[in-house]
Each structure stands twice: as C-alpha cells, then as structure tokens.
Amino acid sequence: MSDDTTRLFIGLVGVLLTASVIAGVLSWRSPKPLPPTLDNLNARIKAWWIMVAGISFAFLFGTGGVILLFAFVSFAALREYVTLTNTRHADRWTLLGMFLIVNPVQYYLIWIDWYGLYSIFIPVYCFLAMPALTAMRGDTSRFLERVSEQQWGIMLSVYCISHVPALVTLPIPGNEGRGLLLIAFLIATVQGSDVLQYVFGKLFGRHKVAPSISPSKTWEGLIGGIASASLMGAGLYWLTPFSPIEAGVLAVLSCVMGFFGGLVASAIKRDRGVKDWGHMIEGHGGMLDRADSLVFAAPVFFHIVRYAWT
C-alpha cells in the first residue's frame, strides 16, 4: 500500500473520530431521551464507521476485494429494491436470475476487464432477456409494471453500482496501480457531499427543493453541501491523476449526480410509502439509503474519466 493510501486512511479515521467525539458530547449534554436529530446523527456516524471499515478491509485485498465488496453492495441493494416491488409467482425465475446470474456475471466481467461486454450486458442483453423470460411464464397481470420495475432494479442496483469497482480497470496513463485511490476519491466526495448537504441543511435549511418528495432536502443544504464537498474533492486531487481544478470539476459533477440519486430514491420510497429502504444497520436504513447517491454518480464519473483520460 502506498503512502497516499495511508494518508487517506489516517485522514478518514481522524474525521470520523472528530465526528464521534462531537456527537458524543452533544448526546451527553442533551436531555434524555435523545431528540430524533441527534439519534439520527449517531446512527449515521455509526454507519460511516462500518462503511469505512468495510471499504478499508476490501482495499487490503486489492481489486478482487473491492469487486467482491461491491457485488455484495449490489446484492443487498437489489434485495431491498425487489422487496418494495410488485412480484408475482411468474416472476420467480427472472428474479432468481437477477440475483444468481446477472449480479455475479456483471462483476465477473469487470474482474476480467471486458469493457465491451460489461457496459452492455445489462442494458442490452438482460434488458431483452428478462421480459422474454417473464412473458414465457404467461402471466400478463400488471406485466408492464413488473417488467419495468425489474429493469430499473437491475440497472440501479447492479449496473450503476458496478461502475465503482470498474474504475480500477481504467488504463489511465501515469496512474498505474492507483485505481483503488480513484475509487476512494469518488466515494469520499459523494459520501462527503451527502454528509455536508445534511449538515448545511440542518444548520441553514429554509427553502425546500422538492417539498412533495423530501422535507429534508433544501436549497441551502444542496448549495452549501455541494460547494464544500467539491472544495474537499479538489483538495483530494493527490489521490487522482487530475489537477486540483479538474478534481474540483469532477467533484461538482459527482455531487450533483449524487443529489439526483438521493432525490430519485426518495421519490421511489415516497411512492411505496416507506421511510427507509431496509434495516441493514440496526433499523437505521438500508444499503440503498447510503448508496443512492453513488448509484447515480458512479457511471457518469466513470465514463467522463474514461473519455477524457484514457
């Protein structure tokens, strides 16, 4: 592992320790039982610790570890997504195929670095094969709805998320052996933007962006969060093959995409009448609640970097 990896790791642990200490002091001084905001903050900090631990552990095993980690993230995300959709008995084989074939194959294609196939495997082949399989079973009740939900689920949970580990395979001249740091850059920027939007929203939030979708997304939070996270991204340029300005521009783009990801995820949850995607981390939301922004940011980030740097 390079010096940069060590620096990044120490930096992350430092940030989390600071956050934990602040939240601990706030919780200690606050009246009991804790107000929901503080409860939520504690839960988020705990989730970040778990996330950092999980990602660091996967990094120890290199590319294979990161691919396996994100294959698991996709599995968990897909499971949460499918739980909220309409499924009928006739969908069994399609659904099983999504979990047992599509997800492993997509990540295997990334492992063997077959760009030509992993970028069209789901949007072309699965796009056609899944409704064909469902149609073969003959149940036409809400057919369009079921098929569309499956397509969306596999695109969001597997295809989009798989572009995070795919970053390792990009042959960027001068960046050999530093692919994992590019992943760290993307995750830190996008997750940092989530956190900072939340903080700015709590501190200064007045005007809601989309009141009918999410009461917690405000213009103040959005602008403050994205601006500060993009500055942070520019400051993390040393992780990447980019100049500080390039890193900042890519960070803005990723943060904006991340915001849209969160917004779309909220709209789906609102449609289904649920607050959280699941209960992965002690009843405080599921995988998609933390990964929704990455879902939208990863493929766009991937393709821009691939187009401009390789």
């Binding site: 599995f75 968990a76 897909l78 499971r79 949460e80 499918v82 739980t83 499924t87 008995h89 069994r92 659904l95 099983l96 979990f99 009448g273 649920v274 607050k275 959280d276 699941g278 209960h279 992965m280 009843g283 599921g286």
Partner: protein, 217 residues
C-alpha cells in the same frame, strides 16, 4: 445436549439461521415480548415452509435449541428424506392432522412436548394459507394449549414476506427482506370461551401486520 436437542439439531439450526439471515436479512422486532427465558408458544401466520426457520432464526441460541416446530405428520413423516429432515436435522413435534387414521391425539403430543420444557412454534391456522386473506380462521389447538398450560406464554409472531421468498412448491428462495414482529403475549382469561379467545388471539396477531400505506417500516 441442550434442552433435549441433539448436537446435529443444534448445528443444523445454527446453519439454517445463518442461511436465513443471508437470504432474508431477517430482523426480529420485539413489540412487547422481549426474550425473557420463559417457556413460550410462538404462534404465527403460515404461508411457507420457511416460516418456522424464520421464527427460530430470530430467537437467542439457547431459546432456539429448546424450541420445536409443530408440523403435520402426514407431510413430514412420509418419505425418508422428509423424515430425516423433520426428525434428525430439525426440532419438530409431529402431529397427525387426519382425524380418521390417526394413532395419537395431537393435543396430547404437544402437551407432552411442553411437559419436557420445550417452547413451541405453532401455526394456529392448521395449514399453509394459500388464499388472498391475510390470516385464516384459527383452529381450536391454540385454545386447548392455553387451557392446558396457562403458565406458558403465548406470543403472537407476524411473519412478513416469507411467502414471497419461498412460496408453496418453490425450491430456491428469492432474496427479499423479511421481518418477524413479536407482539405482547396473549393470555386466556378466566372463564373465556373458546371462540372469544381464538378471535382475540387472531386479532392480536393481525394487529402486528404492517400497514402498507403508512410509515410503519
């Protein structure tokens, strides 16, 4: 030997619990009946063979090792594979549901099992619910157990989504999130008649089902 379970049963119980968690991410919601070490009858809605695995996965390892599922002998005692699963691998109390041909009174079999200190997982509908109704009418078994052993806690358990994971006739489970909601124990009141009690127990179980349009999840 713990709670009368064989080593094989304890091991296969733990393996199944790990598997059930991997597939369904199941989480117990203790809504009025946190684990307290007392002998219990867990009565649950029933639509899938996976139901009792889900309930036992939610229990503490000690409680799991002394908990047996009440299952139909006509199904689980027919054929060598099923008999191996139900008698060797899992902890079950097999009862004969067929009135005409049965050789042992199912009530007596269950009361004997309770007599050895076991907790039971019990499906008061008597069979898997294949209808659109959320819950069928309860058979009288639950009332008879409550009357025979008033000291045993009757805990309603609402199993959510398992029928989508593993419906009737399916071999491979689809990974979907499941929950089991454990409600407040139901007690047979002094002089309460059979029908009133069964209705009340059924309502107590139904009340644990999630409201689909609210923020209950």
């Amino acid at each position: 030997m713990r709670g009368g379970a064989s080593l094989l049963q304890i091991v296969s119980g733990s393996v199944l619990a790990v598997f059930a968690r991997a597939v369904t991410g199941v989480r117990p919601i203790w809504a009025g009946s946190a684990p307290n070490g007392r002998q219990r009858i867990y009565f649950a809605n029933h639509a899938s063979h996976g139901d009792f695995i889900l309930v036992s996965t939610c229990l503490t390892p000690v409680e799991r090792s002394r908990t047996a599922a009440v299952a139909g002998a006509d199904y689980w005692d027919s054929g060598r594979v099923r008999r191996f699963i139900s008698r060797r691998l899992l902890r079950t109390v097999l009862v004969e549901r067929n009135w005409v041909e049965r050789t042992a009174d199912p009530m007596q079999v269950m009361i004997d099992a309770l007599g050895t200190g076991q907790s039971l997982i019990f499906f008061p509908e008597g069979t898997r619910n294949m209808t659109e109704e959320p819950l069928l009418r309860f058979r009288s078994g639950l009332y008879n157990l409550a009357a025979a052993r008033p000291d045993v806690e009757l805990v309603p358990c609402w199993i959510e989504n398992m029928s989508r994971v593993l419906p009737k006739g399916a071999l491979l489970p689809i990974p979907l999130l499941c929950r089991v909601v454990f409600g407040e124990p139901v007690r047979l009141d002094e002089g309460e008649d059979r029908k009133t009690f069964l209705d009340r127990a059924r309502q107590a179980l139904l009340a644990l089902a999630p409201q689909r349009d609210g923020d209950s999840r």
